[in-house]
């Protein structure tokens, strides 16, 4: 291993082996979003009204609650990867980059937990009268 140029220091080490998986997951979740978000949009447009009871009864159905949970997972995973790329492109100071990526992870997992819990609660406790 050389100590001179940047190329000399990394030559022979091989790739970090993680970049490819990250890139593929970004596309895979994009395909998930491409299926699930038009489903959500068309379903919402087709609902007669958007009041509490209508939305509750709609979300409580297994055929809605489960795709909705999958949507949350796919969308949140996708934006977590996307925002990570944005941060890595524009935040170059190590400390600030670590703090930004930590905040992004907490935001993603926190919001995902709230969203998934909300869907589960509606689906499992039924519509209040």
């Amino acid at each position: 291993m050389g100590t001179g140029t940047g190329l000399g220091r990394v030559r022979g080490l091989g790739s970090a082996k993680h970049g490819g998986a990250h890139w593929v997951l970004h596309r895979m979740t994009a395909v998930g979003n491409l299926l699930l978000l038009p489903w959500l949009l068309i379903s919402l447009v087709r609902l007669p009204t958007y009041d509490f009871t209508t939305i509750h009864m709609w979300l409580a159905q297994p055929l809605v609650a489960v795709p909705m949970m999958l949507l949350v997972i796919s969308v949140f995973w996708h934006f977590r990867i996307g925002l990570q790329v944005v941060i890595e492109d524009y935040v170059h100071e190590d400390g600030l980059k670590f703090a930004s990526l930590t905040a992004l992870t907490f935001y993603t997992l926190g919001a995902a937990a709230f969203a998934l819990f909300a869907i589960a609660k509606i689906a499992l406790t039924g519509t209040p009268n």
Binding site: R27, A30, L34, L37, L41, V45, Y50, D51, F52, I55, H56, L59, M68, V75, F76, F79, G82, L83, V86, A111, F114, A115, F117, A118, I119, K121, I122, P128
Partner: protein
């Protein structure tokens, strides 16, 4: 350093103009970031409000029906359609197609046409047909 200041320097970083393809690329990032922040917070708020009961859901609905809320929702739907269009364009570019200058510019322009058309169709239907 003796240098003629008027001499043009490669790669002419200050000499450029907006093109459809660079606008599409930047808009993909901007709309993605907007959807990941504002869009995700609105989606999560909607779900949590629906799970929390009538009162908190009506509070959400009040904001959604407010003119300001409407502007946010219309903006989010446009951002979604734009990100969707440029995202599908990225899939095409990922497989190595669509790099010829004219084709590339044409589809970059088409993403704007598609996102604006779909946004207009959605809200035209919601506001004027459905009422």
């Amino acid at each position: 350093m003796a240098q003629n200041r008027a001499r043009p320097l490669s790669p002419h970083l200050s000499i450029w103009k907006w093109g459809a393809n660079m606008a599409a690329s930047i808009l993909h990032r901007v709309t993605g970031t907007g959807l990941a922040t504002v869009g995700v917070l609105v989606l999560t708020w909607w779900l949590v409000a629906a799970a929390s009961g009538q009162e908190s859901y009506d509070y959400f609905l009040g904001w959604a029906a407010h003119p300001l809320g409407k502007i946010v929702l219309i903006g989010l739907s446009w951002a979604f359609f734009q990100h969707l269009a440029t995202g599908v364009r990225h899939f095409v570019l990922d497989v190595g197609a669509g790099y010829e200058l004219n084709t590339n510019r044409f589809w970059a322009r088409m993403t704007f046409v598609i996102s604006i058309t779909l946004t207009a169709a959605l809200w035209g239907y919601l506001l004027f047909v459905k009422g």
